[in-house]
């Protein structure tokens, strides 16, 4: 409706109030936008940093892939053996040590008798439980020995490492000690020293650890007998001994 009279005091006041309200809403909108932007920035940077820190899945070329491995495992024993097993193990894992103490000798005998073929999936996620990253250094060393000296020497080295496993929370054996045991198992020092000291299979070990979780294994030792996952380590010990007796 047309209205020619000048705005009354009240109308001017109402207009001023509306303008004030608009300004307030604008200000609040900017504040909310600013806060959201800051939070998104913090979140984005954090997610980016986490992603960058995780090298999982980065491709390894031929020099980063040890010989004598199948997938992410070292296969020990006769290919024609009637029984196959898969052990997922972290060198620093105490339950793996107990598992190996309970079945290791019998398994090695069964391997020698051609009764069973075992794929050792060496993984590493327990560096936090070591003062000098023993878990990943030992895992790397195991693959170095497999690469340089083959599955049988690897099997002996693997037994030696579990016999000498450092306690969690301590500093584990240094690289020189890892090399000395490799030589004791039957490897040539010149062939293993560069790989152990240079941790050449670090990325391979990281990828092996990721593959373990993709294989449905949530902890070590993860034990499969003829493709069947054992529900827990205690059951695994009995089942392994039963299967090879």
């Amino acid at each position: 409706m047309p209205n020619d009279r000048p705005p009354s005091t009240a109308e001017r006041a109402a207009a001023a109030l509306r303008e004030q309200e608009r300004a307030k809403r604008r200000r609040q909108f900017l504040i909310v936008g600013g806060v959201v932007a800051v939070l998104l920035l913090i979140g984005g940077l954090t997610a980016f940093a986490i992603g960058r820190g995780d090298s999982t899945g980065k491709a390894v070329d031929a020099s980063g892939t040890p010989a004598n491995t199948d997938g992410y495992s070292v296969v020990v024993g006769d290919a024609d053996a009637p029984l196959t097993m898969k052990f997922y193990e972290d060198p620093q894992c105490p339950i793996c040590q107990q598992f190996e103490a309970a079945v290791g000798e019998q398994v090695q005998t069964a391997i020698a008798d051609g009764k069973v073929q075992v794929a050792y999936h060496i993984v590493s996620f327990l560096d936090d439980a070591s003062k000098n990253e023993y878990s990943s250094r030992a895992a790397n060393a195991l693959y170095v020995v497999a690469d340089a000296a083959g599955p049988d020497v690897f099997a002996k080295y693997h037994s030696l490492l579990y016999e000498n496993q450092p306690a969690e929370g301590t500093a584990g054996p240094d690289d020189d000690q890892l090399i000395a045991w490799a030589v004791e198992a039957g490897a040539d020092e010149d062939a293993v020293r560069p790989g152990i000291a240079g941790k050449v299979y670090a990325q391979f070990v990281t990828n092996a650890t990721d593959q373990m979780s993709k294989d449905g294994v949530n902890g070590t030792p993860g034990v499969f007998i003829d493709g069947e996952m054992q529900p827990d380590p205690g059951t695994a010990v009995n089942a392994v001994l039963q299967a090879i007796q």
């Binding site: 009354s8 005091t9 009240a10 109308e11 006041a13 109402a14 109030l17 004030q20 309200e21 307030k24 609040q28 504040i31 909310v32 806060v35 959201v36 939070l39 913090i42 979140g43 984005g44 954090t46 997610a47 940093a49 986490i50 992603g51 820190g53 995780d54 090298s55 999982t56 899945g57 996620f125 936090d128 990281t206 650890t209 990721d210 979780s213 993709k214 449905g216 294994v217 949530n218 902890g219 070590t220 993860g222 529900p231 827990d232 380590p233």
Partner: protein
Amino acid sequence: MKGGVQEWFGTLARLLVGGVWLVAGAIKVPNGAESVRAVRAYRILPEAIVPTVGHVLPAVEIVVGLALIVGVLTRVMAIVSALLFVAFIIGISSAWSRGLQIDCGCFGGGGFDADATAKYPWEIARDVGLLLLSLWLVWKPRTRFALDSLLFRRPTPAPERSDHAERPTTVHG
């Protein structure tokens, strides 16, 4: 509860829930691979998004934690917090019902846990408690010592003046 007491209770809820989120997120930052494996261990999400969730979830936890601790966008953040707790409660219950024995990975870690079945009820109870505190903050987002009250100051002097201005206009109408 009286208004003042409610606002103090809200502050306590903010600090507790926010603190839990911040710690839970920060612990996972140095070990993204572990976080990814912990997510995967639930065997709920498709593999295509598992690594992304493993990397982004800790960042979301940190953002929600920081926001709740300083008290900014409290209601929105409390909604996000509540939704996350609902998701975690579903995840843990699902793992439990399927007989999976996994560490919840709530504060880093994750993976096989022989005592998992004994821990599930406690983990769920903890998350339900934190969910209730989050819902309280959705309902009563005004709390003491919150950045929100500085940024969005209420009450402003404006309403008092508007009373004077409005009365004459209604007379004209």
